[in-house]
Amino acid sequence: MDSILEVKNVSKRFGGVEALRDVSLEVKRGSITGLIGPNGSGKSTLFNVITGFYKPDSGSIFFEGKRIDGLNPNEIYDMGIARTFQTPRLFGSLTTLENMMLSPKGQRGESLLRAPFRKMWINEELQIANEVGALLKEFDMDGLYKMAASDLSGGHVKIVETSKGILGRAKLILLDEPTAGVHYAVGRSLFEHIAYLRKTYNLTFFIIEHRIDLLFDYVDYVYVLHLGRLLSQGTPDEVALDPKVIEAYIGGA
């Protein structure tokens, strides 16, 4: 397996705080890779650096061999990296269908000049709608297509968030705490869903998660961040037994 994402010696400071210090890691294509660490260890900062919200102070990031640090978030999405946020950020007053139809990139009808001429984009639009319809059916959500996203249940919101990337032809999906705020059983079915998506659509997932018990059942490889530094890495079994990790989580003497 080759690597789809490579982070090389990335550092990021906010004033006096060193949020990331010389972090290097790689995500293998087709894997589910986990990123864990105590609060404030720099996990979300790393995601924000990868997706272009922050520019790294030093270091470089490669996606499929192309350098992506310094690009804008929308350009990074266009390259094939989709992300979710800690708190779900669906467009509340838009319907489920509209939310999902926003994902495909480079839609012809999304230009100011073409938008008034329905003929120029209606075929593409119907094709995307078909795709969304099939996807919703796959997740048993086709009855909810015209419900406002703010009315969806927490579990459905998470499913829509994690699956939207498929429509945008994303290759790598970064999930920031996908199971935060949902019941354990829902969290497990969400991870089943993620594993299903990886298999069916050949996706790669890079997941921040605090529910380590859930995460370790599904990931192939885990990175541990602590105080902005990479503390440990390995398969779930290796990491779980690493005394440094236990010390960082529980606190050593």
Partner: protein
């Protein structure tokens, strides 16, 4: 009894102008979520561009070289305004086009320092831009300073019958209003409109879906400001004069109240709001003519009614009279549904069936639930 025809001829031009402004503001606020508190600046720029262009062209065409704000120029305009119909009409069209371009450009330029900061900053920056524009124009001699421009040639000045003249102007204004409405409806019900709504809901999430948010906002500011400029140009031609003090911040907030009352994110709502508030202002100004010995001038009561209307709207119908609908791109056809219409018809049929059933049961003497 009031003369309906003369009422309409005094109401419709103002209605058209405000409806166009409300549509533009609705595009910015209702769809793209940009708090434009400085709409009046672009409206004013359009008005001054139209006044300046038309008077300059007329005076130079007839070989006068008075400054356009001078008394001689105003007197000369009175003589030449009705001599050459083709010049009136072409200057009108040229002025509208220039007003669109220059106001639009101003909106586009204002977008640069404001788009990357939060919505509140955008609002305050544009608000102060609007006020700065007014103060600047008061001291800008080429357009007559605080006296403004007088004697802007009416596009149909060559028509001798005043009623026909006014009717022609109303027809043109209505045509512009309708085309702006159709254009905005097409924009709103396209993938582009969907992106606008996503920006309003959550800018960051929209950026994360690959949408070029700053560019799209700048585009909308260009289009909406440009069309506000066209409304300003219409206003200048309708009144025949422009002064800087016509463009106070209160105008912006009047248009805001139209959008709030009519319904944000609904183009018909914007027009409805505009018609309610312009009717109200007509009504109160007529009242102040009819009842001269009132304690309070009805024109002031109008502002009170405006305030009460907004509070009542926000309390009982916070989304406005006409609520925002889904983006109609026909994508839902995929789900084997023909939109709301069909669902409503089906519900009506089912209901009728239920009544029929209970009637039948009643006829044959059986109890129903």
């Amino acid at each position: 009894m009031l003369d309906i025809l003369s009422f309409l001829s005094s109401w419709l031009p103002i209605f058209c102008i405000y409806a166009i402004l409300a549509l533009c503001l609705n595009m910015e606020v209702g769809y793209a979520g940009m708090a434009n508190f400085g709409l009046v600046a672009f409206y004013g720029i359009g008005a001054f561009v139209a006044g300046y262009t038309s008077m300059t062209v007329f005076l130079s065409f007839y070989g006068y070289d008075y400054p356009i704000y001078s008394l001689e120029a105003i007197i000369a305009m009175g003589k030449i305004a009705e001599k050459t119909p083709w010049l009136n009409v072409s200057v009108f069209i040229l002025s509208l086009a220039l007003a669109f371009l220059i106001s639009g450009l101003a909106g586009y330029l204002v977008s640069f320092p404001t788009l990357r900061v939060g919505p509140a900053f955008l609002g305050i920056t544009i608000l102060s831009f609007g006020e700065m524009f007014r103060v600047f124009m008061k001291h800008f001699q080429p357009t007559g300073g605080s006296y403004g421009l007088l004697g802007i040639p009416h596009p149909f000045a060559w028509v001798s019958d005043p009623l026909t003249k006014n009717t022609l102007f109303i027809v043109i204004s209505l045509a512009i209003l309708i085309s702006v409405f159709v254009y905005f409806e097409l924009l709103a019900n396209s993938p582009y409109g969907r992106v606008l709504k996503s920006i309003r809901e959550d800018e960051v999430a929209s950026l994360c879906l690959g949408k070029h948010v700053p560019r799209i906002k700048a585009e909308i500011l260009f289009v909406a400001s440009g069309i506000s400029g066209v409304a300003g140009a219409l206003y200048a031609f309708y009144l025949g004069s422009v002064t800087p003090d016509m463009f106070v911040t209160a105008v912006t907030f009047e248009v805001w109240s139209m959008v709030i009352l009519g319904g944000r994110g609904n183009n018909l709502g914007a027009i409805l709001g505009a018609s309610i508030f312009t009717l109200l202002s007509r009504a109160t100004s007529i009242l102040s003519f009819v009842f001269l010995d009132l304690l309070i001038d009805p024109n002031y009561i109008r502002w009170m009614i405006t305030g009460v209307l907004i509070v009542v709207t926000l309390m009982y119908k916070p989304k406005g009279i006409l609520e925002e609908g889904p983006v109609k791109t026909k994508a839902w056809k995929i789900f084997g549904e023909n939109g709301r219409g069909q669902a409503r018809v089906m519900a009506a049929i089912l209901k009728a069936g239920k009544y029929l059933k209970s009637a039948l049961y009643w006829l044959i003497g059986r109890e129903t639930k």
